[in-house]
Assembly symmetry: C2
Homo-oligomer: 212 residues x 2
Amino acid sequence: MDQNKIPQATAKRLPLYYRFLNNLNQQGKKRVSSKELSEAVKVDSATIRRDFSYFGALGKKGYGYNVEYLLGFFRSTLDQHEVTEVALIGVGNLGTAFLHYNFMKNNNIRITTAFDADTEKVGTDIGGVPVYDIHHLEEKLDDIKVAILTVPAVEAQVITDKLVEKGISGILNFTPARISVPKHIRVHHIDLAVELQALVYFLKHYSLDKPE
Amino acid sequence: MDQNKIPQATAKRLPLYYRFLNNLNQQGKKRVSSKELSEAVKVDSATIRRDFSYFGALGKKGYGYNVEYLLGFFRSTLDQHEVTEVALIGVGNLGTAFLHYNFMKNNNIRITTAFDADTEKVGTDIGGVPVYDIHHLEEKLDDIKVAILTVPAVEAQVITDKLVEKGISGILNFTPARISVPKHIRVHHIDLAVELQALVYFLKHYSLDKPE
DNA sequence: ACTGAATTGTGAAAAATATCACGACTTATT
DNA sequence: AATAAGTCGTGATATTTTTCACAATTCAGT
């Protein structure tokens, strides 16, 4: 909407920076240099300075960055003032892992609703989140714009279609299926098997001390 | 070691291609075009052709690619002939999800050993994988080169150090901690909270129909 | 055989990302 | 006040990745 100039690669690193700044702040640190931050998050210090510079001059030459100031800045940049409600579809092991994760701690994100087909799970609370019957997806999804998809691959497209119909904006897809959506909806894929296989491939084919 | 010319971006897509070729093959499809594949995996068709071209001329102009041939080619490229044994450290919800995932179906990867600190879990089998006491990591890890790290963040570095000492080559790190390792060891980070937050950020700041 | 439609493989260009390297400024110390 | 050490912000450059666009080739139909 507004800051379209920020490179996607930078945007993907912002949450990471944010979390580490939070840690530093909690440790009572007042200032931090790009070099220190670099060691903590394993991103080149020049890249960090460049990333920050897209938002203006946030630091002081010869000094570094004021942790509290930077944190406040990122808080508003990352929209941490307003809670984002998220639905979780599919309460298997992976889904349950998400339900137990406290996103509120660092991020103003809350999973408010979960869905599953298993009647044993429907009606329970997991990690404080009520689990509804997936067949009632249409009624219970009101106003939620983001969904985490942790269902079996075969269900992925059917459920996606329902989410789309209910006006979802973004989907974090953990199924191996590459789901199809209208082009105004954003889908991020995280494919655990692909990640594992890619790691194995890199180990076998790339010589040591190569980055990422 | 050998094919160092292949771009990293390409290498990361190979497992994805491989899985979809497998699907096609099981469906009995004999040929496929880069355009079809593109729709299935959501990667631009020119990118797919470019990716394949790093391995030589695998297709036929005006025809496309022979599914079986391509599959065989990738099988050997991705070292699918030799089983890769993987250890899983931390049998929480996320870890359990991995233990139930059958990587052998498409990939010749097998989780052979799991570790946890919880005495209730130690000694059990989950998804056919024996769970050992994490304090016996040193004795039971023999010869395993790849580990999946799904422990609480505070434990991450300590356990990593032990893995390094035992000669691990690669770690798939699901903890929010950015672990430190000697530079010849490869670590891939998958940070679930960061992924979720990045998605939310993109939704708020990037206008629609933007890619990835 | 010929024609038209489909599709690859790739040179070239564009776009995105990362890194280098240094002037300018800040702080601390003497 | 002067000096030294530390650090940012950024122009310039390098590297990586994606995309365009088209000649060359193949296939299917007549």
